[in-house]
Symmetry: C2
Subunit: 256 residues, 2 copies
């Protein structure tokens, strides 16, 4: 006879924060964001998730259409994809390999190593520009974390999130493209299950799960929540990086 | 000059619940779980996420090794993969197509349509059996939701979650294999961004994001948290299904 009880074991909280709407024309920087976030009462162990769009805007990592000179390849692909040649040119500039060409999108491997649609380049939530992913999201995460830790004296983690589609399943999910101060890929092999058997093959993409959780509050459109604090997450505060979550081409059965 | 403020706009809470450890030998059922969950003070709009392992155990959807008769193909693959022929036979029985054979794993399309490693079959967190995915996770989610709603009078959503690997990125993430009462795939095309531009291609796998969020508390090993309540998630309570998240083979550039 199995007993019957249910009890709270753990509670995690996500706090969606609104900040002023920032455009790529505002001459701000990561320090501006660090100031804002530091004015919120953070606690030790908080994980601060920031949408990559905000980082790219703060780093002024945006491209004006009139500054792009499309190549003949960009013109050709643009017609096929129904995109502007300038956007396609930026997608190509941001990529190191075209992985697949689909109906209206290109899957590339970006110069960072992310495999995603259109090199992560988009035109949403910027005023009038083409927006690539941040140059080096791990560096931006580390910079932001150190600034906030200096200003607040709290030990925190930072994740820079994007949303990406994936093969086999519909819809996009939050992923961690930059990580600092917290685990990104959690190797749980060797731990025990409920019946004391050893787990064989469990590496958890905890950085992506945290980014997905934050993404529920961030949304995709005009929510105006580019920053989410995750409080009380049972996650190791090791020195993870967004890079840890990239599967290298030679280890990927879907690229060979 | 951009003003400086940061303010809380939305708070979401995840509550990890512990229940007695259940083995596949306990003669229980979904009603047992519905009773337990209903004894927790639920609120309207709560989303109850349940690990698929628990559902398979409650539905006694487990297979004893001695009841499996491996075919010659299972023996051959078992040697190649370093798995037992019985486990490989169950993997094959649960699949409708082998998509890729990797180093120690098979990627299949399961009879439900999920593309995942080893047809989602595993031996973790069961006492001594081979455990396939639930027969029909959408049906189980719907059954559980209706039972809880009847017992509590609250309007809730239910998600049955698993964790799956994916191409291009390392580690596994929570995904929603069964959904009832809440949106699974959220079509946000046509909505506006921060600068009032129309979003072009945003379908959000909100079911998977909720499952990933819950998975942070559930963990993978001996946390003993197979049930997570997500409270105050800004998600439409439409009649989503786990099936909505499956990309059909003919629409998948990585399967053609």
């Amino acid at each position: 006879m199995v007993e019957k009880y249910i009890k709270e074991k753990r509670r995690m909280e996500l706090i969606g924060l609104e900040i002023p709407v920032i455009s790529e024309d505002d001459n701000l920087g990561i320090e501006y964001l660090a100031d804002l976030i530091s004015s919120y009462p953070l606690k030790d162990g908080d994980i601060v998730v920031v949408a990559e769009t905000l980082i790219s805007k703060l780093e002024r990592n945006v491209i004006k259409k009139e500054d792009v000179k499309p190549t003949p390849l960009a013109y050709k692909l643009a017609e096929k994809l129904g995109k502007s040649p300038e956007v396609v040119q930026v997608i190509l500039d941001q990529s190191k390999e075209i992985v697949k060409i689909g109906n209206g999108f290109i899957i590339t491997e970006t110069k960072h190593g992310f495999v995603c649609a259109n090199s992560g380049v988009d035109e949403s939530n910027v005023k009038d520009a083409i927006k690539p992913l941040p140059e080096d999201p791990d560096r931006s995460a580390s910079l932001l974390r150190k600034m906030i830790e200096r200003k607040t004296g709290k030990k925190i983690g930072v994740i820079i999130s994007d949303s990406m589609g994936r093969p086999f399943r519909r819809g996009s999910c939050g992923v961690a493209i930059g990580v600092s101060g917290v685990c990104a890929l959690w190797d749980r092999r060797g731990e025990r299950d409920l019946f004391n058997k050893t787990l064989k093959s469990t590496e958890v993409a905890i950085g992506d799960e945290l980014a997905s959780a934050a993404s529920i509050l961030m949304g995709e459109s005009n929510e105006g929540i580019p920053v989410v604090i995750i409080r009380n997450a049972p996650v190791p505060f090791t020195d993870g990086m967004g890079k840890d979550l990239i599967r290298r081409k030679e280890e990927d059965v879907f690229r060979n």
